[in-house]
């Protein structure tokens, strides 16, 4: 039996198994075909440099999803990935070969060339996008049933300079390399051969057609080779009609043919090839060795290293960035694993998930969902329910029409959480190399001994060290911990405590999932963290970290998450907590000269939300909550002050940022307005509106006394409230009708915290306070006392003593008590020239003047101009 099959299998030359990368149906078919054909060697589309790594696939420590990662040795940021899921036909082929002791070889063009191509493009200035497009002018490669998502995913990625340099098409670039273009590639007009086939079959969606025709075919077809024959014929027709792709495809195919010939020479006729369906006709083609060699001559080269890295289902998904272009790896995995009745098993799985999340789902539900999915498939003319039908059924039956639980199903099952593993024996990941390189160039040796490191951020090397350490912290590699600086609090100093523990190497290896350079990895990690962050404060902290780590590219994502969180957070306290950190980052960003336009926009928006939410949130608070809210009011006040300044100074930069946002697409005029030239006006307006909020608070009877008092004090300090008005408000708050405890709270808010100097200088306020205090009834006094004590005990001893003396002397004792009201508080009505004279000798000394040359010199003139007091000027002349 087997013999008979074998003879038919190799009748037409080598057994060519054209697949769709990551297609579960293809994987199943490949396994069946290999079982039937029993080849002596299995050739697989992939970089030949990885041949020595194939045996690792048999290691139980290597669990898919994993990816082969090729990278340039001296430039780890230049890299390419070949992801393998459990349901990838290539993976199945590798495992089959290993299980049967048959050699497996990769036959695609070596990564040393593909990476060099990418470099050429980068240097010649062609963007990654364009480069990838030029690669496959007909788009055939990238689309032909994903015949090439595998390798060209790598191409697209490698030829994507944005991987390590921020650029406008950062997001779009991996698309062309994917199995088929994402929506963002719509700009490129290409012919999609698969779409042509699907259209011929009456399908509007090429994916669905492929699934119906190939992936959903159950096992047990009589001839395991039939599907491959059919696909090969279709591809031949397509290549005849639409051309065979670009030059690079021809080169790659030439290389595959050469390897195929070599394999046949070595192992005889029983050779099986697993490659993208698109390439099958090219491998069948009869060409001369010389012609193929000619194509391969003079290819650029770059020194390359290959290793296995763990991969995740999320990254296989299209939305995952370096996506292999599969929407539903979880569903594919299920199709591949399920021995039979895939729909029933899938819906049972969904029901299990929903039950875990405490939704009531009975078996009757599952039964009805299966019926609905099957009938729906019949209505839509599909042989079996696909993901679309099951999803519709889940929505209508299990989720009661709601998309919310459905999103959970999509995230946890359709995409899935599967995380690959790689054994320790796998070669080092490029991230380690990159780290080592940076350690060398920054002269920062990993030492097991703990030591402190003082950094002066004004120097390039130290700034670089700081960035590296912050990035590593983001990646969870705790090599250095920030320590309290010994030398003062300057923003340009940082102190780190360094200690390299051996297990940090493991952490670095783990972090390799995030990227190939420290910067890229830290960025990816920061973005992922932002998406996963729960509390608003976490996100602001992350924004601060991004600035410290010099990762402005990650900021847009972090800011988007921050703005979203802030918009949906109903607790003003959270918002008020987040604002100071954000404003701090903004200031800090200014110091470092990073573009903080987006940050400013978000901070201003956050402030607005606080303004709107604060007054209602100040009602009906108990003492503790009021105290907490007072702290928020203080923090917001400080933050608004800083923010106003920052906005006024960075108006221009913010404008630049908003054009950046426009370039990214979808910018609104409103955004430009808020961030751009209006920066100054927005800043000034902010302060005005904040004062409006404070005024509203100070007058609001439902707000606790401590907050009202604080609001009055802040306005007074800002000069936004005249002292008479403050006195009036204080009189109101302390009038006999107010319960003493409430009045004491008002005083605490007004006089607490900021020091008592105000009371020392404004005797009228002190007098009001004094009058009230003496009027407090004896039985209420004991209630009020602790509050007052808390307020006044915080004053410095000198202030307390002065206050005591003032009170003892009593009001009206001072000379010119009546005139004082008209004078500036804290100053006497008439200047005391005798006391002013006493300062002059010291001033002269400071200015370097001799006692007699003061008259008429520029210095004295300058002095006269800068001082307001006529008495001093008069003395000078």
């Amino acid at each position: 039996m087997t013999g008979a099959r074998e003879s038919t299998a190799y009748d037409a030359g080598p057994l060519l198994l054209g697949v769709r990368h990551h297609g579960p149906g293809s994987a199943r078919a490949v396994r069946a075909a290999l079982e039937a054909a029993r080849p002596a060697v299995v050739l697989i589309e992939g970089p030949p440099e990885a041949d020595p790594l194939i045996p690792l696939a048999a290691d139980p420590g290597l669990r898919p999803p994993v990816a082969l990662l090729a990278h340039a040795v001296d430039e780890p940021g230049r890299s390419a990935f070949w992801p393998f899921a459990e349901f990838s036909p290539e993976w199945v082929a590798i495992r089959w070969a290993l299980d049967h002791g048959v050699p497996a070889r990769f036959i695609d063009l070596p990564a040393t060339h593909t990476l060099a191509w990418a470099r050429e493009e980068g240097e010649s200035g062609a963007g990654g996008h364009e480069g990838a497009g030029g690669d496959h002018p007909t788009g055939a490669d990238g689309h032909a049933s994903g015949s090439d998502g595998h390798a060209s995913g790598a191409d697209g990625h490698a030829s994507d300079p944005d991987n390590h340099e921020p650029g406008p098409d950062d997001q779009a670039a991996p698309g062309p390399g994917g199995r088929r273009p994402g929506p963002d590639d719509a700009g490129e007009v290409r012919v999609d051969p698969l779409a042509v086939l699907a259209e011929a079959a009456g399908y509007d969606d090429p994916e669905r057609w492929w699934e119906d025709v190939v992936e959903h075919r159950g096992p047990g077809a009589d001839d395991p080779f039939a599907p491959f024959t059919a696909v090969a014929e279709a591809m031949t027709a397509l290549r005849e009609r639409y051309g065979a792709g670009g030059h690079r495809d021809l080169v790659r195919e030439a290389h595959m043919r050469l390897r195929l010939r070599a394999a046949r020479k070595e192992f005889g006729h029983a050779v099986a090839v697993v490659c993208g369906a698109w390439h099958v006709p090219a491998l069948r083609e009869r060409t001369t060795v010389t012609a193929d060699r000619a194509l391969l001559r003079g290819l650029p080269k770059v020194k390359t290293d290959v290793t296995w890295v763990p991969w995740t289902h999320r990254r296989l998904a299209r939305s995952g960035g370096y996506g292999a272009g599969i929407d539903s790896p979880g569903w594919y995995g299920h199709l591949f694993q399920a021995p039979d009745r895939p729909v029933e098993r899938w819906l049972t799985k969904v029901a299990g998930l929903l039950r875990e999340e405490d939704r009531i789902v009975s078996s009757a539900h599952v039964i009805e969902a299966v019926r609905l999915a099957e009938t729906l498939a019949a209505l839509r003319g599909r042989p079996l329910p696909g993901l679309g039908e099951t999803t519709d059924a889940v929505r209508a039956v299990l989720c009661e029409g709601s998309d919310v639980p459905l999103a959970l199903v999509h995230d946890r099952l359709v995409v899935g959480d599967a995380l690959g593993e790689v054994p320790e024996s796998a070669p080092a990941v490029p991230l380690q190399r990159d780290l080592a390189r940076q350690q060398r160039s920054l002269r920062l040796k990993p030492e097991a001994l703990e030591r402190d490191l003082e950094l002066d951020l004004r120097g390039d090397t130290d700034a670089g060290r700081s960035r590296l350490l912050h990035r590593l912290r983001l990646l969870g590699v705790g090599w250095g911990e920030p320590a309290r600086s010994r030398g003062g609090t300057g923003t340009f100093r940082e102190t780190w405590r360094l200690r390299w523990e051996p297990e940090l190497s493991v952490r670095v290896a783990e972090a390799g999932v995030w990227g190939t350079t420290v910067q890229a990895a830290a960025r990816a990690k920061a973005e992922a963290d932002a998406d996963a962050a729960r509390a608003l404060a976490d996100v602001t902290a992350l924004a601060e970290q991004c600035l410290l780590a010099g990762l402005p590219e990650a900021l847009p994502v972090v800011m988007r998450v921050l703005a979203d969180r802030a918009a949906l957070d109903t607790d003003v306290g959270h918002l008020a907590q987040a604002l100071p950190a954000l404003v701090r980052s903004l200031r800090y960003g200014d110091v470092r000269g990073t573009d903080t336009g987006a940050l400013a926009e978000v901070a201003a928006g956050l402030a607005e939300r606080v303004f709107v939410g604060l007054p209602p949130a100040c009602a009906a608070l108990d003492a503790d909550a009021a105290e907490e809210m007072r702290a928020h009011v203080d923090a917001v006040h400080t933050a608004v002050g800083l923010l106003t300044e920052s906005l006024a100074t960075t108006g221009g930069e913010a404008g630049g940022a908003s054009t950046g946002a426009e370039r990214a697409g979808g910018a609104s005029k409103g955004g430009a307005l808020s961030g751009g030239g209006a920066g100054r006006e927005v800043g000034g307006g902010l302060r005005e509106r904040w004062r409006g909020v404070l005024r509203a608070l100070s007058l609001r009877d439902t707000a606790p006394g401590v907050i009202r008092g604080r609001a009055v004090r802040l306005l007074l300090d800002d000069g936004a409230l005249r002292p008479e008005e403050a006195a009036r408000l204080m009189g109101l708050a302390l009038s006999p009708g107010t319960p003493p405890a409430a009045a004491a709270a008002w005083i605490e808010g007004f006089a607490g915290g900021g020091g008592g100097l105000l009371l020392v200088h404004d005797e009228r306020l002190l007098g009001l306070l004094d009058t009230w205090l003496t009027g407090v009834p004896a039985d209420a006094f004991t209630d009020v006392l602790p509050l007052l004590r808390r307020t006044f005990a915080a004053y410095e001893p000198g202030v307390r003593r002065t206050l005591g003396e003032l009170v003892r002397r009593g009001p009206g004792d001072r000379p010119g008590g009546a005139a004082q009201a008209a004078a500036v508080p804290g100053f006497a009505a008439e200047p005391d020239t005798a006391r002013a004279d006493a300062v002059l000798p010291v001033l002269r000394l400071l200015l370097g003047l001799t006692a007699d040359d003061g008259t008429g010199t520029t210095d004295t003139t300058g002095m006269t101009e800068t001082t307001d007091h006529g008495s001093l000027a008069g003395v000078g002349t």
Binding site: T375, D392, A396, A567, T570, G605, P616, K669, L673
Partner: protein, 376 residues
């Protein structure tokens, strides 16, 4: 108020003798149904007038092989109609959910018309709907004269549908008191309606099914018990997908209403209508139209129907107290009333929206001012 997405291109083939203000779906589209039935060669479930494919075509529109054009009855995602039709074909009851103005009633009527050729077996749900409306009542004169018998029994639409294998419709299911709702449980699970007074029962004939509609965002509704809910497949009818579609619906409907109220059509009103629709959509979706800023959503439903009433009110204001041109000030108060349903929480939402979105939007200054005025 319900706004149907009734296509203006529909050409109802009115019977000459038909003088009804609004003919039933099966009458208005009799020609289309007949054409579909004539060319429908796919298998039909028992007692269905059309095959599921033809029903889907009837709702979504298309061209038949002989060139007959079927007008689309429902403009929206194809998926929704397919799931709905399939649900009926699998013998499950169908629950159409959605906020007012999403064509729930319209879809249910046309489904019943296409499946059973009769959309009149209808129970209108209200807070006062009695059990008799769903099960059966008695003709008391007969009952007293002859004693209990089938002749004295007054069947409900649901009972008739069961006996004849037709599609019954229940409108506004969630308005019906919970204990009355639960009479449906036996009907839907056992497919039988016992008549204990006679010691008999009515068994549902093949082809019987039930379409219910319900409003999922109104307050004060009687939520379905999980036992009942389990018997339904739920399809949520979405709000209009694009702002343009919604503006279109609002404009058309406002025109119709305005005509009946003798309000002149506002020449420049379209800008204001667009603004109202934008505000409603943004607050409802919790994200600005450009997709860049997230927003809190207020507690109200903010349906298309409400947008229509805001615009109609504004138009009345402009006509009677203004210069006849719909301006920001005319709709501001209406919008405020529609958005701020809960005085504490919604006001914060609205203020935030005003300050963070409206204030900075170009060309919206007059609107911002008008809103500030009425909100103060």
């Amino acid at each position: 108020m319900t706004v149907s997405v009734e296509p203006t291109t529909a050409t109802p083939h009115r019977d000459q003798t038909e003088q009804a203000l609004r003919p039933h779906a099966e009458q208005a589209f009799a020609a289309e149904l007949a054409a579909l039935a004539a060319q429908d060669d796919r298998p039909r479930p028992a007692r269905w007038k059309l095959s599921p494919w033809a029903v889907a075509t009837y709702l979504l529109g298309g061209t038949l092989p002989d060139g007959t054009v079927i007008t689309p009855k429902y403009v929206g995602p194809r998926r929704i109609v397919e799931v709905a039709v399939t649900t009926l074909a699998t013998d499950r009851a169908l629950l159409l959910l959605g906020v007012p103005g999403t064509a729930k009633t319209w879809v249910s009527e046309h489904l019943a018309a296409a499946v059973s050729g009769d959309s009149t077996l209808l129970v209108q749900g209200t807070a006062g709907t009695p059990e008799e409306a769903i099960r059966y009542g008695w003709n008391y004169a007969r009952l007293l004269a002859h004693g209990p018998s089938r002749d004295a029994l007054v069947p409900s639409p649901v009972m008739r549908a069961m006996a004849e294998g037709m599609t019954a419709r229940v409108e506004e299911l969630t308005r019906i008191p919970a204990d009355v709702q639960d009479t449906l449980i036996t009907i839907l699970s056992e497919k039988t309606l016992p008549i204990p007074e006679l010691g008999e029962e009515v068994q549902a004939v093949r082809g019987f099914n039930l379409i219910a509609t319900a409003n999922d965002r109104d307050r004060g509704v009687n939520d379905l018990s999980s036992a009942l809910r389990r018997r339904f497949n739920t399809v949520v009818l979405p709000l209009p997908e694009s702002a343009d579609a919604e503006v279109d619906i609002v404009t058309r409907r406002v025109e119709q209403l305005g005509r009946s109220l003798d309000l002149p059509a506002a020449p420049d009103g379209i800008e204001e209508i667009r603004r109202v629709v934008t505000v409603f959509r943004e607050l409802r979706d919790g994200v600005t139209a450009d997709g860049r800023t997230k927003l809190k959503s207020p507690s109200g439903t903010l349906s298309t129907a409400e947008a229509i009433s805001v615009v109609t009110n504004g138009l009345a204001l402009a006509t009677h107290f203004g210069d006849g041109v719909l301006r920001a000030g005319d709709v501001a108060a209406g919008i405020l009333g529609a958005v701020v349903r809960d005085p504490a929480a919604d006001r914060v939402v609205w203020q935030e929206y005003l300050e963070t979105v409206v204030r900075e939007r170009e060309g919206w200054t007059d609107f911002y001012r008008a809103c500030r005025e009425v909100s103060a």
